[in-house]
Symmetry: C2
Subunit: 372 residues, 2 copies
């Protein structure tokens, strides 16, 4: 077993666009060295994008490291929260990039959770039609969002509808930053970690189950391993299907119901990880309908409960609103209902033949009043 400061490294294999993910402790202060080592031109200004919660905790460490290495860095701070993933804030960041004098050789850094990553990533993708981008994730959930190059902002009618595929140059994951995360964000982040196990790696699911206590306590070694394994599944899938023509869709396990719940909740009641936790239980129940082992649903539910995640739909969410929100979700190709369904723990399939009534039945069955 690794020491708690072991540096874990893996590569997202994408030919010319391959990049490393570094996971370890005390890494923020190595940002400048990494910039130099990877040949980022010192003369090209850097824009550090972060949010109002993360800024005071970690921005100056990253900036200092860059300045010591000779880089000129400008800080741009957005409000903490999903609302910042808007075209208006995107516009403000483009202004900031122009005012900071960013050129074609410049870099945009995202220092924060998935919100900052998606937003700053779309700035890097669109500014001068694409400049360098670096991810420094500071949430557990962002082990998912920082890998794979999907960047986007929201539109008032739909989430993540305006975006691009724009891979980072590297992902720098400093485990120390996760210590300041609110406990609710920690739990929510593990929903995506466990998702990666559920779609690909039964052994890792069992490991999470055994290590739940250490994971929730943010023990560095357990955390490092969990993020490494989660990122690994994501990397493998993205390497094989960068643009979501087929395989990559399996990463959406639990997201069809999950996104609908987020939409109905107005994006402030439920965290993304909480919504997909409920969604994954729903998908597992769908598996039962297709004749797979009913034990999958029970097992999934037990595991999420162990991590303190919700597994029921709050009673006041109207089934009709949830169903309607699903119809607007972009995972419906040409009117048919598409779902990622677990065939077993660690294995999923994509079904394009899911009857709407089944889904409605499952949504009803997940309502708080109706089950424990």
């Amino acid at each position: 077993m690794a020491a708690s400061t072991e540096l874990r490294e893996l590569t997202v294999e994408l030919g010319e666009r391959s990049y490393p993910i570094l996971i370890g402790t005390d890494l923020l202060k190595r940002t400048g060295d990494l910039f130099l080592k990877r040949g980022f031109p010192v003369k090209a200004p850097v824009l550090l994008v972060t949010d109002s919660a993360v800024e005071h905790l970690y921005a100056s460490t990253v900036e200092e490291s860059l300045r010591q290495a000779g880089y000129n860095v400008t800080r741009a701070v957005v409000s903490s929260g999903e609302k910042s993933k808007s075209l208006g804030v995107f516009d403000d960041l483009i202004t900031a990039a122009l005012e900071a004098g960013l050129d074609r050789k410049s870099t945009v850094i995202a220092l924060g959770g998935g919100v900052v990553g998606d937003l700053a990533g779309f700035v890097a993708a669109a500014y001068m039609r694409g400049i360098r981008f670096v991810q420094i994730p500071t949430t557990i959930l962002a082990h998912d969002s920082s890998v794979g190059g999907k960047v986007a902002v929201n539109h008032r009618l739909a989430k993540n509808i305006i975006g691009a595929f724009h891979q980072p140059e590297f992902v720098l994951y400093d485990l120390d930053t996760l210590k300041s995360l609110p406990m609710r964000e920690v739990r929510a982040g593990y929903a995506e970690v466990i998702k990666h196990g559920l779609i690909w790696n039964e052994e890792f699911v069992n490991w999470c189950d055994e290590r739940a206590e250490q994971l929730l306590a943010l023990d560095s070694d357990s955390l490092g391993h969990a993020l490494y394994e989660g990122c690994k599944v994501k990397s493998i899938v993205v390497s094989r299907d960068e643009r979501e023509n087929d395989l990559r869709a399996i990463l959406n396990l639990g997201h069809t119901i999950g996104h609908a719940l987020e939409a109905v909740a107005g994006y402030n009641e439920l965290l993304h990880g909480e919504a997909i936790s409920i969604g994954m239980v729903g998908s597992a129940r769908l598996a039962e309908k297709f004749g797979y082992d009913p034990g999958i649903a029970e097992e999934t539910e037990r595991l999420f409960r162990k991590f303190g995640l919700p597994v029921r739909i709050p009673a006041h969410y109207a089934t009709d609103s949830i169903m309607e929100a699903m119809m607007h979700d972009k995972k419906f190709a040409e009117g048919k209902m598409v779902f990622v369904v677990p065939k077993a723990i660690g294995e999923v399939e994509i079904r394009g033949d899911v009857p709407v009534e089944w889904v409605r039945g499952i949504v009803e069955g997940l309502k708080e009043e109706s089950g424990k």
Copy 2:
């Protein structure tokens, strides 16, 4: 010599993303057939983006053709003019796309000049991280903008600063649509046609010189040949360097000074083609400074005059403002001045060592008072 209705076809070679450019007469009504032939799914809604000047002339022909082929098409109209290339109008078009129910298999069509092409292209690039895009150019200038996949909107501080590389599925160039173009737009369009000759093909420059009268009269056969040759140069260059790492930069001949003039003019006094006409004369004078034949500058100037294009900077444009605007232009890498310079008619080189004083001298020398 080809008959006036000859269909000219060429391919932009980009591996998997290769696509045809079709140039001929009476083509709009073939849009639906082309969609079917190229396998665009009939169930996926189509968004037709056009502007307020083009709408009444050609939109219904395109729509009718698509409807007869079984497609569901929604029209979105933006105001005519460069002002529509904004993030605000982009947002409106994303709303229109969502309301029209566009999905991942849908297509966005640009029917219009370079403004509509760049704007609708960025919508297609960003909507759901990229959907199909078709260019139906209706200006001469758009032979340039519709080929090569550069799409963008402007920011109040800089032109084309927010964008993507997003290649169309095909370009459909109906010569009949050009008959309704205002004469000033016709002349301005030829500035980019001649630019393609100046950077790559001396013979074609001579041909343009000989055919100036027929070209300005929009004789279909001459026009078809000119657009074919212009598109060909653009295609070759783009095929070799899609993302402007090196070679593609030669397409910017005349654009460094040209963009600065547009910026100083506030984007309404000078048309893009007019600005780069002046800019190309400036670049040719720079060639002289580097010791190349002074005849290049005279020849360039004579040719643009023949097409009724401006070759002098209006007297009231302050030299300081022009120089400052150039400093903001993204064609300056790390503070050095970069220019595309003609070595001869039909051949250019990229120089990264242009002294600012030379450029200032040339700008001064091009002022209306000071020239003949």
